[in-house]
């Protein structure tokens, strides 16, 4: 139940709505238990139900999803060789020790600020350890889309948390020429 609630909470960002979604998810799953495919992970099935309920509640139409998808999905290979956050940090903290000093609340805030199409795969991958294939099935997109959304979501998160670390003095910023170009994540 923890996993479904956590997923619902990060989707909805409101505890009351997350509880409603979790309750409805389990009730739906119970009602439709004969539709569960043996051999697949129950967790993935529950996430799928929960996500569909959330989308219905928030009236996110399929058309809207398609528009977002077109804007968000791009071949991660085009940008995977560059990482402006890493390049900015590599002289002072090349292995990213500073991540440990960023407070939990800031991490959650940065995750909550991610657009939903990036937030969903990130939660399912990094928290729930779903495979790319399982995430693709939950979200209903091709595996390539999962990869690119994960890639881009992590880049946005890296930049947000790095900026926070610089602001807090956890990491000293490098010279102005090395400042992070926000466009790098949306090239």
């Amino acid at each position: 139940m923890d996993a479904v609630y956590r997923f619902a909470l990060r989707l909805a960002k409101e505890p009351d709505l997350a509880e409603d979604l979790t309750q409805e998810t389990f009730l739906r799953a119970y009602q439709n238990r004969d539709k569960y495919t043996p051999g697949t992970r129950v967790k993935s099935w529950l996430f799928t139900i929960c996500r569909n309920l959330f989308l219905r509640r928030t009236e996110r139409s399929r058309r809207h999803d398609e528009i977002v998808t077109e804007a968000a999905d791009e071949d991660a290979r085009h940008v995977s060789r560059e990482n402006s956050v890493f390049m900015a940090a590599r002289d002072r903290d090349p292995e990213g020790e500073f991540w440990k000093q960023v407070v939990d609340e800031e991490v959650l805030r940065a995750i909550d600020e991610l657009p939903p199409e990036f937030r969903e795969p990130l939660i399912l991958s990094d928290l729930e350890d779903l495979s790319y294939q399982e995430i693709a099935e939950v979200i209903g997109v091709p595996i390539g889309t999962v990869k690119s959304r994960l890639f881009r979501g992590r880049r946005i998160l890296q930049k947000a948390l790095y900026d926070y670390a610089v602001e807090q003095g956890i990491v000293k910023d490098t010279k102005p020429d090395d400042s992070i170009d926000a466009e790098e994540v949306s090239e």
């Binding site: 139940m1 309750q23 119970y30 995977s80 991490v107 959650l108 990130l122 890639f151």
Partner: protein
């Protein structure tokens, strides 16, 4: 650096960076994982990049795991499901 021409040939930095996310997400098969690990053993630059990305992933996991189901709510769901089961 040239791209690999056979499975036995070590991967180069370009290929290692392309595979990095899949490696950290445990999406590579045994051969792919071994190739990545051999590359990371001998390439300090890619090793640093991998560590940087790995620490972010760990940080995300640590932040997200804090969400806990309120116990009262959990009890309510269990009761509700138990009732449904006894009705059917």
């Amino acid at each position: 650096m040239n791209a690999r021409t056979s499975d036995r040939e070590p991967i180069d930095c370009e290929e290692a960076l392309e595979r990095l996310a899949a490696y950290l997400d445990q999406e590579l098969d045994r051969t792919g994982r071994d190739e990545m690990e051999r590359h990371l053993e001998r390439c300090r630059s890619c090793f640093s990049r991998a560590e940087f990305e790995r620490r972010l992933k760990e940080r995300i996991q640590r932040g997200l795991v804090l969400d806990e189901v309120p116990r009262e709510f959990e009890e309510r769901i269990r009761t509700l499901l138990g009732r449904r089961a006894s009705e059917s």
